[in-house]
Every structure is written in C-alpha cells, then in structure tokens.
C-alpha cells in the first residue's frame, strides 16, 4: 500500500513537473492535451463536451482496451462492491452519480485516474470541479492499486444499459 502511494506520488510529481515546465505556471492539468497553452478556465459544460480528449491527471497515461475480459469483470465487480458502494451504485445515484454508461462519457484513463488519484483530480480537473459543485461530496481515496482500478474499469464496460430499463 505504501509503495502504491509512493508510485502515485512520483507519478503526480512527474505530471506536475511537466505542466510546470510547459507553461511555467501551475494550471488545471486535466485538460492539458486540449488547451495546455490557454490559461482561461474551462467550463464544466465545455469540459464534458470535450471528454474524449481528457485523460485526467494521475498515474494512467494510456490504456489500450481489448475485448471485454469476463474474469476481470468479476474481479472488478468484487472490488467495486467492497470499496465503492458506500457512495456509488451501478444504476442509481447515491452520494455520487450512478455509473451506468460511464465508459460512454469518460475516457478509460480518466476513470482510472479518478479512482487512483481523486484528491488531485478534484482540485484540478474541470469535469471533477463541476461534479463537486453538483454532488458536493469529495470522492474518497480507497488506496486501490492499478490492477484493481483496471478491473473496475472492465466492470464498468459492462454497465451499458440499466437492466430495469431494458427488460430484455
């Protein structure tokens, strides 16, 4: 767990460092690929619209998605049940938003960075900043490792349609 934290720290330091060296001024780094030279704050609506270009900030830089791996889905479901359901449900809003369809509105990297690095995401990512204003609660860091976060992502890939809305 400690090692995991250190990795995270190193990763965030590296990214922080990169942003610092580009513009010489720390700015929200969540959208570094879309408007890294622009100091104007990005609105939540704009950021949501441009979600395909937002990988978030954290240890995950690039993820290649293969066809859905059912073993990983089962593992992700278990990790999600154990660590996330106090605030998130798959098909229903609780403390935070329902997660059905999340992979259709956030990049895989953003999702994993949100799980692995919520503290920094909440402070710097324009989508997160907007979500905080809507939901009020700050997401807790459950100290999951990359394997666990990746498994949750795989599980989320199966949450495309609410079964209650689609009796078939």
């Amino acid at each position: 767990m400690v090692q995991n934290k250190i990795n995270l720290l190193i990763a965030s330091l590296m990214i922080g460092g990169m942003v610092f060296s580009c513009s010489g001024k720390k700015q929200p780094s969540g959208l570094r690929e879309t408007q890294s030279q622009n100091n104007k704050p990005v609105s939540y609506e704009q950021a949501v619209e441009d979600w395909r270009n937002n990988k978030g900030v954290g240890p995950i830089i690039d993820i290649e998605l293969d066809p859905v791996d059912q073993a990983m889905v089962a593992r992700g479901n278990e990790v999600f049940e154990n660590n996330c359901t106090a605030c998130h449900l798959p098909y229903k809003e609780k403390i935070g938003p329902a997660l059905v369809g999340i992979t259709e509105r956030r990049t895989p990297e953003w999702i994993m960075n949100m799980i692995l690095n919520p503290e920094e995401m909440v402070k710097t990512d324009p989508i997160c900043i907007g979500l905080l204003a809507r939901y009020n609660a700050v997401m807790a860091d459950q100290n999951l490792d990359e394997e666990e976060a990746r498994a949750i992502l795989e599980y989320f890939r199966t949450l495309k349609i609410d079964p209650q809305e689609d009796p078939s």
Binding site: N82, N83, T85, A86, N136, A137, A140, N143
Partner: protein, 660 residues
C-alpha cells in the same frame, strides 16, 4: 535542497557573527551567538521532518509520548497502562481486556522505563517495551502502528520498577521487585518483614514476537528493594544486573532506616546458567495467577488469558546463578557500557561514582573472592570487582548513558546537572546545569551497544520545572532538555515541556521507523466478528434486550443513519467499521447522553461502543473527528421507545429502509 538550506543558514548567521564580534570587542560575552546557533540546531522548517523519534514515558500518566528530535515537537501520545479519552483505548469494548489484571480492571497505572527491542545489542525498531510500576506488568508497543498490542502481568511482584531492560537479542525482558512482599502473598504482621518478605527477579521470554510474552522463570531473592536493572551486552551478554537498596530489610521510615549500611548490592544474574537449571528441572512450579492480554490488528480486539503457575529458581539450589557486587550507598541506576565491560552503579547517597569491571567480576567468581554468602548468593569482594571510581562528580547520581566515544554521562539529581566523564581515566570532562533535578537521561542508543552517530544528542529528563515556563497554577509541566554532545563541551539547545513525568526515554533514527508505518488496516483482512466491511452488510439485530448495530462510516455518512425500535433499558452495541482505506481519515462516533465513552475508528478498523439509553426520545449521533467538507452533515438519529412499545426494529440510509 540541503545545500541550499546550509547556504541560507550561513547567510542568516553572517550578520550575527558580525554583531557578536563587535560585542566581544566591547569586552562583553553575550549569549547572542550561542542562542542563534542553538536555534539553528533545533529548527525544523515547516514541512521538514525530525531526525529522531523520541519515546518518553509519561511516568504517572501511564502513557508514552512521542516527540521529534531535535525539535522537541509532540507527535502522539500512546496509551499503555491508562485509559485514553482521545483514542478510546480502555474505553471501547475491544481494548478493555488490555487493562485487565488479577486485581480486576486497572484504569490508571504508573509507566516507567521505555526500552526498545534489540538485535545484537542494537535497537532494531520493532517494538518498544515499558513497565507498569504499581500493578506489575510489561507492555509491548508495536512500532508500525504505535499501539499497545500486548501486556503481561508479573506475578509474585510488587513495584515493578527494575524493568524491562531487554537482553542483547530481546531473549528476555527482566523485572525486579522494588517492594519485597510475602511470596506467595499471605496475611502476616508487617514487622515480620525480615522473616517473611522476599524479592523476585522475573525473566520474560517472547519479546521478539508479538503475542509471545511469557514468564520463563523467576528467581527468589532476599527481601531487599530492587531498584533498577540493565542487561549485559557484548562481553557481558548472558548476564543481567539489578541494583538494590534497603539491604537493612527495614519496613518503616526507610528515608532513614534504609541508609544505615555503607554498601548495598548490585545483583548479577547469570541467566544462561538459570536456563540450564530450568532445563535440568531444578525449578519449583509455584501456583501464581497472572493475565496475558494480546491485541490483534486483524480482529481489532484484545483477548485475555489467565495463566496459573510459574517456574521459580532458588539461589541456594542453583549455585553460580546469582552474585552480589557491593556498591556504595543505595545505588539507583545500574548502567552497562556499550562494550558490556563496565557496570556503573550510581550510589545515590554516595560522594563517588562506582564503576565495576565485568572481566574482574568473572575473575573474582573464578577465584571465589567471596566476603560472605547470603541465602546462597555469594557477595563478591568490592576491591576485586572495582574498575574505578569517579571522585566527587556531583551530588545524588542517578543514571548513566554512553556516547560510544569512550565517554559516560551521569545525571545528578541534587546538584541538578549532567556530568561528562571518561571511561578510561574516570576524570570529569564537563558539567552542565539542568533545570531542575534531572532524573534519567537519554542519548539515542546510549544504553545499547550502538549509540547512534557516536553520541549526537543528550536529553535530560527533569523532575521539577518551577520557573522555567509560563506558570499554570500549582501543577506545572515537567521538562526535557536537549543538549548537543557532539563536541568536547555539552551545549544546552532546547528546553521543552512534556506530558506527565518524562521518566525515561528512548530515541531511534526516524529513517528506521518512518517507512514501516501502517497507514490503514486493509478491509479484506478485518476479522472482527461484528465488522460490516461494506454497506450491504450493515444491519441491526436484537436478542432479548441486547441490540447489535453493525454500522459503517465513510466520508460523510453513517450506514444506517436512522434507527427505530430501540427500547429504553436496551443494551445497544454500536459496532462501527470505518470503510475508509486512506491515510489519516479516522471517523469518530458519539451518541447523546452516552455515559461510557466515544469512539475514534482508524481506516479499516472496527470498534464497539456500548450505550444503555434509559429514557425515551430521539437521540442524535455524529462523527466527532472533522473528516471532510461535509463533516457537519455526518450525523444520524436513533429513536428510543418505551419498553412495552410495538415499534418495529428498522434501520436505513436514504430511501432504503430495512427491518427485522
């Protein structure tokens, strides 16, 4: 970064140097340079960390407090032998067994000598041990969680002062009885002391492993007061030493009567020989009840085992096991040099400091240079074991530690000073005042085979403060004083208040402990029988008038947070599991009118609070540890109805409500 800081420091000091030079030209010697230089040595910039962890006994507070050195900043108080309303130790159901003894639940004891575990005579940073003085016990503190995780009671003992002073590889912890008593206890006239009272030296095995402490054996000795101890190391590995006073065996007005003789004794115990006698079956099995309490970080609970007997060795039946070294007058500390060769006895009423030689002691035993034999214990000839004497170093010597450079440092209670002297020439090299009445002293590693950095700092642990701080009514904080001892002369750097009495202390480089710290307890390893490790496991169960609430916390809600169907007179157990898995996110739990306690639950931990509401109404509960931006929203309600009411037991969170 270090370079930068040093350079900055240099720049800062430059003008001071200038001013100081000018002062000197004027013939004055101000403390300006000294003060600035001392400030620089103890200044830890915001965000920077201290070099050492220091563990200071709280003395009569029954706790251990953790400070940084050189800054003197307080980081934590670890409850050991006393209940702690900050952490719930001794209040929550899980830790109550830690304070159980054959005398019942003891909420407050007197903690004396913290000692770090050792490997090859060097502090290994695994555990800290400390003795409970009043109701004899030894506790283990785990240095990955800074929690008390094991306590063993010492039977056939009273006033467990000469303790725990581990052997070179923590094979044993030791415990000598300060107060001799009838052993086994019996109803006898107090003035039959000489006839009926005895002392014991107890050797406790299992120090290296959590949960393994056990009374290996006890040695029954004459009824003196056994004051302090130290185990040998290096050449003297295999031996432990105990000071004694009141060899007069008096039972009243000891202030006067226990100081009649010129010399008392340091008892030298050959514990390897004792092991042989145990092996040969030369012990007596003696009935003696004592508690062994062990806390688990998986069940987050302590359990008690009551043990029934001990193995006792009698010196008369076990020749070669115990010897007495005559030592002038009522020696207090007995301190062994880093090589194990020198045994310093601080005769607290003696004008001189006595240093015995281990090598000479072994020779005297071989040559049978015995002045007399007391209850099977040969008294070695004083001159035959003496290595040297420090002549008139001060008044009221108490304790000595070492720097690993051939120097020893002794505290003097009456003359309020720390004196540095040479182990080679027995000459006094330096003396510095303490403010006031210093008891123990501590050099990081200074009682072990390896003083860190060859003696960099010395901490004097003072008994009296008087005018040193802003006054706070009749009771004043005790103090610790930090000296730089890296040079020829000691320099007083800092003077900081402490919790309780800083009776004795240990320190270890932060680098050894910091990276091993537990940040949260993994939920998947939680084996508490009443844990709810996810919200779907939360529930409320009733059996008769006993109600068990399986509750969870996470920023920023309880589950369940509305409970109905509790009845006045019920005994309600709140088993609260903190679902957080992040560092430094404990949650608290308090319910209106609870006359027992509150809870403070670490991430991944389960703790239990008992609540017995007597009156009907609706009671709020809430999180007491500011946890998040919505901390104030972290609250809930419990409805308490009359005993005869037919309100169903229900619990819920949001729009989800469950029932029996």
């Amino acid at each position: 970064m270090i370079m930068n800081r040093k350079f900055l420091t240099f720049l800062l000091i430059l003008p001071v140097l200038f001013i100081h030079t000018r002062c000197n030209q004027g013939g004055g010697t101000t403390g300006a340079l000294g003060a600035s230089n001392a400030a620089e040595k103890v200044y830890i910039a915001p965000g920077e960390k201290d070099k050492y962890y220091a563990f200071m006994s709280g003395g009569y507070s029954g706790q251990v407090s953790v400070y940084g050195l050189p800054s003197g900043r307080l980081f934590r108080v670890i409850p050991v032998f006393s209940q702690d309303p900050e952490k719930g130790y001794g209040y929550n159901e899980e830790t109550k067994p830690m304070l159980m003894t054959t005398y019942g639940f003891i909420p407050w004891d007197d903690a004396h000598h913290p000692k770090l575990s050792q490997t090859n005579g060097v502090h290994d940073g695994k555990f800290l041990f400390i003795n409970g003085n009043n109701t004899p016990r030894i506790a283990r503190i785990d240095l990955t969680t800074f929690e008390t995780t094991e306590i063993i009671q010492i039977p056939n003992s009273a006033g467990c002062h000469a303790s725990p002073y581990p052997t070179e590889n923590t094979e044993y912890l030791v415990a000598g009885t300060r107060f001799s008593v009838p052993i086994p206890q019996e109803d006898v006239p107090i003035n039959s002391y000489k006839e009926n009272f005895k002392g014991t030296f107890t050797f406790i095995s299992g120090g290296q492993e959590h949960g393994a402490m056990d009374i290996a054996f006890q040695i029954l000795v004459p009824g003196y007061d056994y004051d302090l101890a130290h185990s040998g190391k290096g050449v003297s590995h295999g031996w432990s030493f105990f000071t004694s006073y009141n060899v007069e065996e008096e039972n009243t007005l000891l202030e006067k009567t226990a100081s009649q003789y010129d010399k008392d004794y340091i008892a030298a115990v050959n514990w390897k020989k004792a092991e042989e006698y145990i092996e040969q079956g030369k012990f007596r099995e003696m009935p003696a009840e004592y508690y062994h309490n062990v806390y688990s970080d998986r069940t987050h609970s302590a359990t008690s085992e009551i043990k029934k007997s001990v193995k006792v060795l009698i010196p008369e039946e076990c020749p070669g096991m115990v010897y007495y070294l005559p030592t002038p007058k009522s020696p207090h500390g007995v301190d062994v040099s880093p090589t194990g060769e020198y045994i310093v006895g601080s005769g607290k009423l003696s004008a001189d400091l006595t240093v015995h030689s281990f090598e000479k002691m072994i020779q005297a035993i071989e040559d049978e240079k015995f002045d007399e034999v007391i209850d099977g214990i040969p008294v070695l000839n004083y001159d035959a074991v003496l290595a040297g004497v420090v002549q008139q170093p001060g008044l009221g010597p108490l304790h000595t530690e070492f720097d690993g450079r051939g120097n020893a440092y002794t505290t003097f209670f009456i003359s309020s000073e720390v004196v540095k002297w040479s182990l080679e020439t027995y000459e006094v090299l330096d003396r510095q005042p303490s403010y006031y009445s210093v008891g123990h002293l501590m050099i990081p590693g200074g009682g072990s085979a390896k003083p860190w950095e060859n003696g960099e700092y010395l901490v004097a642990l003072n008994k009296i403060t008087k005018d040193r701080y802003l006054p706070t009514g009749p009771e004043l904080a005790h103090s610790a004083q930090l000296y730089d001892i890296s040079g020829d002369k000691m320099q007083l750097l800092l003077d900081f208040p402490t919790i309780g009495e800083p009776h004795y202390a240990q320190a270890i480089p932060a680098s050894i402990l910091a990276e091993n710290q537990v940040q949260a307890f993994p939920l998947e390893e939680n084996e508490h029988p009443y844990a709810a490790v996810r919200e779907s496991e939360t529930k409320v169960e009733r059996t008769g008038n006993e109600v068990h609430v399986y509750m969870t916390t996470i920023r920023s809600h309880f589950a369940p947070d509305n409970i109905e169907g509790i009845k006045a007179g019920d005994k309600v157990y709140f088993h609260v599991t903190n679902l957080e898995q992040d560092w430094d996110v404990p949650h608290g739990f308090a319910v209106l009118g609870n006359n027992n306690a509150e809870l403070l639950i670490m991430p991944g931990q389960t703790e239990t609070l008992v609540w017995e509401p007597q009156n009907t109404g609706v009671y709020p509960f809430y999180c007491t540890d500011f946890c998040s931006a919505l901390h104030q929203e972290m609250q809930g309600y419990i409805r308490v109805s009359p005993p005869e009411s037919d309100i169903k037991l229900t619990w819920g969170l949001g729009d989800e409500v469950f029932g029996e």
